[in-house]
Symmetry: C2
């Protein structure tokens, strides 16, 4: 049973999707051991409390350097013996020390079909603004491993979502969250917890259950 640490900065709907997936049995090989928020006001902390999960606030501005901030995050993750880290709308950049401490154990969800509309400066609503400006008819979400490059890690799961005529960034954001992010993030978490992901460079293969005997 893997211990999952979820890092958040805001409302925490992706955290909720993971918590719900534990209840519904989609996630059976792991459970959320702690929620770390970069903001004390994040509603995600309330969601954690409602689920009986410890919530911790680690603010960037309480530390003089990003190294110290990383060390504080790492300390909390180690305190809760976290095996797997999930970035669920976490708006700070993770430092090298954390990435090295959890090789191929940190997941991020991004609200586009990477490599479209990703990289530095593409986060939150902006991703959907850019997609609509570009005029794409299909967008979606991606769950990927986190490495040193923003949105650059190997892709675990992707799901496409249709852009509808008249979509605003807000409407599209909600549809992508509901139809894609909340579906593939819990699936990817379960696959990682069950040791069913084989990483080979940029390619992530799914190990079938019957290959695991």
């Amino acid at each position: 049973m893997k211990k999952i640490g979820v890092l958040v900065s805001g409302g925490g709907t992706n955290l909720q999707a993971i918590l719900d997936a534990q209840t519904s049995g989609i996630i059976t090989n792991g459970s959320v051991a702690c929620v770390i928020s970069s903001s004390p006001k994040a509603y995600a902390l309330e969601r954690a409390a409602n689920a009986g999960v410890p919530g911790v606030c680690v603010r960037r501005k309480d530390y003089t350097s990003s190294e110290e901030f990383d060390a504080a995050l790492l300390k909390v993750l180690q305190q809760y013996q976290v095996d797997i880290v999930v970035l669920a709308g976490f708006l700070c950049i993770l430092g090298e020390n954390i990435i090295r401490a959890y090789p191929n154990k940190i997941l991020n969800v991004h609200p586009s079909l990477i490599p479209s509309f990703c990289g530095d400066g593409f986060y939150g609503l902006k991703v959907h603004e850019k997609a609509l400006e570009y005029g794409v008819k299909v967008t979606g979400a991606t769950v990927h491993f986190v490495n040193e490059v923003t949105d650059g890690g190997a892709i675990i799961l992707q799901k496409a979502v249709a852009v509808e005529q008249g979509d605003t960034p807000e409407v599209l954001q909600k549809r992508v969250m509901h139809e894609a992010e909340h579906v593939i993030l819990p699936q990817a978490v379960e696959l990682l917890c069950a040791d069913r992901l084989k990483v080979n460079g940029r390619k992530v293969e799914l190990i079938e259950n019957d290959e695991m005997i």
Copy 2:
């Protein structure tokens, strides 16, 4: 009833999809008036002959400049009074003169979800090689208007296709052709022939039939 000119260089499966869509009633507002091939050996010319459509070969190497090549293509298009031009695996770059002669009347189909895996150097099998190297789990096809930038015109239709474990570029190419290109290209041709596409910068809106009264 619009007259369609189809430009090809190879096997012509997308040409066949358009011809079949005329027969099946998916395309009702246009018909293929001529097929222009950049190679005399293209099997697409046989498909044209089998459908009773005139086929013409215009080879780049028979002309000293790209301007002369363009002029030769334009002459054939005008000879057959073509209203709409479809690039269906046409491996030459269209010059400005043709693009200007057919503003928002030239379609291209590209075997990825643009803006992923497109632009100069991304054509044919290479697109799928790059997608597999990148490790995407979802790819697809795009039908877009042709402007001066390679794969840069406004997007008309897109369709997603799942990448399956163990896919080779060849297997993925076939799936994208069958599930996406052959579906959305005829649909886009019909929408353009029926004057149901409204272009606003990079955004293409679909005019509903009941708005056209």
